[in-house]
Amino acid sequence: MSELIALKNIGTQAADMVDVENGRVKKELYSNPEIFEEEIDLVFNKTWVFVGHESEVPEAGSFKTSYVGRHPVIISRDRKMNIHVLQNRCRHRGATVCEARKGKTKAFTCPYHGWGYGLDGSLRALPKPEEYDGVFDKKDMPLESLKWDSYQGMIFATFNQDIEPLADFLGGAKKWIDLFMKQGGGYPLQVLGEHRFNFPGNWKIQLENTTDAYHFPIVHKSFVSSLDEATADIFDFLDGEGFVEDLGNGHSVMVMIPELTDLEADLDQPIPERFNSLAQALRDEGKSEDEVKKLVRAAHGTGFNLNLFPNVSCSMAFFRVLRPVSVDETEIQHVAIGGAGAPNAFNQKRMRLHEHFQGPMGFGTPDDGEAWERVQKGSMAGTDGWILVNRGMTKLRDSADGNPQGAVCSETGMRGAYAKYKQVMAAGQSAKTATTDTVEEK
C-alpha cells in the first residue's frame, strides 16, 4: 500500500509544480528522478510518440530501430508494404532481435537461440521446436506490436491501446504539418540522414527550446555572423510580424519568418543571390524556370518551428526528435530531409544547410547545448525556485483559428506544452488511483 501511495504523491506533485496561471514551473521538474520515472510512464508510454518517417522504411523489407520512451522498438515494412512497430525483444529470453540502426532484411533473428521473426513480427521458426509441443503455439508468440498511426508520413506509436486517434491528438497542428511537407519542392519528403548528440540535462529543456525565439540572437550570434547580409536579415526576426500560437494538446507553432510559411506561394519572387549556384545547377539539369523557383524556395525550409508534444518538432528544415535517457540526460536527433527523387543539387544544398547549423559540429547546436547544460546545472542552485515561462502572457490575442497567440519571442508555446504536461501527469495519476481503489474494493 505504501508504494501505491508514494506513486500517487509523485504524479500529483509534478502536476502541482506547473503553475499555468502564472506561467511558471518548479525547477525541480528538471532534476527529480522520481518525477522523471513518472514522466516515462505517463507521458512517453501513454501518449503518441514520434518514431520515424515513412521514407525511412521505403521498401518491403526496410526497417529502422527507434525508441518509445525507454522501450527499444523496430519499425518495419513487410512484403505487403504494411508498416509495423514492434518491441525489439525476443519472446523467449528477451534479447534484442535487431541492433542495426536501419537496413533491409527478410527476418529478425534472435542471436541467442535463433528464434526467427518475420517483418510483421510473427514467429516463423525456431530450432528444435518439438520441445514446445503442448507448451505454446508459435502463432501466439510474435514480437509484441505497438499501436501506431501516421500523418503525412510521420509515424507515431504508443503503448496506450485506449488512446485518442492520432488525427485528434494532432488537431490544430495538422495544417502546419501540411505546410511543413511542402519543402520537398514538389517531391515527397525524404529523410536524408541525421545528426545525433546528447546533452547533460532534462528533456523538457529541449522541449522548451524549439519554441523559444527569444534566445536566437543571443545564443546564435556566431551563426548569424557567419551568414551573408541578406540571410542575416532574415534571421533578425524578433521585431518582425512572427508569432507563437498555442495549438492545443501541448503543440505550438512559432512562426519566425512569416514570408516562408507557405513554400508554394510567392513563387514569382526573384532568386536570392545565395541560391544562384543551386538555381544554375538545376537549370543545367534541364529544370524549367518555374521548377527552379519552386525548388529554390523549398530549399530554404519553412519559416516556422512546429513543436509537437512530447518528442518531435518540425523545425524549419528538419525533424528534431528528443529521447529522455535519465532525469539529467537527453538524446537528440536532428533529422535532415529533402525530396525523394528530387535533383541531386537540391538535396545536396539541403544537406549543406543542415550541416551549417545543426548537429554536434554545426554552428548553432553546440551553443544551444551549452545553454541547456547551464540551465540544468544552474537549476540546482537553491532548495526551491521557479523557471519562468510567463513572457508575453498579458499580450495574447486570438489567432485566425481561435487559438491564443503571442509575440514571436513570447513563451506561449512553452506554456501550452506545460499545460498539457500538467494534464497528462494529473490525469494519469487519477487513473492509477482509480485502479488502486478497484483493487482495494475486491
Binding site: L192, G193, F197, S222, I332, P360, M361, P366, E370
Partner: protein, 160 residues
C-alpha cells in the same frame, strides 16, 4: 621520388605540425595549410565515400573553414568560449599512396578535450590527401572518421 622513409618522415612532421596548431588554437595558420579546393570532412557514415551526396557532421570548403574558425575565435559563441584545452595524440601514420600529385595518408588520432572540468575522448582514423608543394604539403582533403561517428556525440566547439 623520395624513399618511403623520407616521405614518411615529412608526412609525419606535417601532420604533427597541423595537430599542434589545432591544439594550440593556431587557426589562422591552420587555414593556410589548405589548397583552395580542399575539403575538411567529418562523416556520419564511416562506409560512405560520396561525401557530397551524404549528410556529414561537417563538410567544409574554404568558405566554411574560414567561417568555422571565425566562430571559434570571435568570442560570440558561448560553447567555443567554454572549450578548455584539447590534446591530440597522432600515431600509426601510414602512406597508402605516394604520387607526384597526391600523397594519401592514414593515421590514428585520439583527441582529448577538457570541458567544464570533464574529459571527453574522441578516437578516430584520420585520412589525408596531401598535395606536395615546394618540399612541403598542402591539404587537399582531410577526413576524420570518428570511432563513434554514428553515436550520440557531445557537441564540438573545436576542430578535429
Amino acid at each position: 621520388m623520395k624513399s618511403n622513409t623520407q616521405l614518411l618522415a615529412l608526412v609525419t612532421e606535417f601532420i604533427s605540425y597541423e595537430a599542434d596548431l589545432l591544439d594550440h588554437k593556431g587557426y589562422q595558420e591552420w587555414l593556410s595549410l589548405w589548397t583552395d579546393s580542399g575539403l575538411y570532412i567529418v562523416p556520419t557514415d564511416l562506409n560512405e565515400t560520396d561525401y557530397l551526396s551524404t549528410l556529414n557532421l561537417a563538410l567544409d570548403d574554404a568558405d566554411m573553414r574560414r567561417m568555422r574558425v571565425a566562430r571559434l575565435e570571435n568570442g560570440e559563441s558561448v560553447s567555443a568560449n567554454s572549450v578548455g584545452s584539447t590534446v591530440r595524440m597522432v600515431s600509426r601514420v601510414r602512406i597508402l599512396e605516394a604520387g607526384d600529385e597526391a600523397v594519401i595518408v592514414r593515421s590514428a588520432q585520439t583527441l582529448n578535450e577538457l570541458r567544464h572540468g570533464k574529459l571527453v575522448t574522441y578516437p578516430a582514423n584520420v585520412e589525408y590527401t596531401l598535395k606536395p608543394v615546394d618540399g612541403g604539403f598542402q591539404i587537399e582533403q582531410k577526413v576524420v572518421k570518428l570511432l563513434h561517428a554514428d553515436g550520440f556525440l557531445r557537441t564540438v566547439s573545436f576542430v578535429f
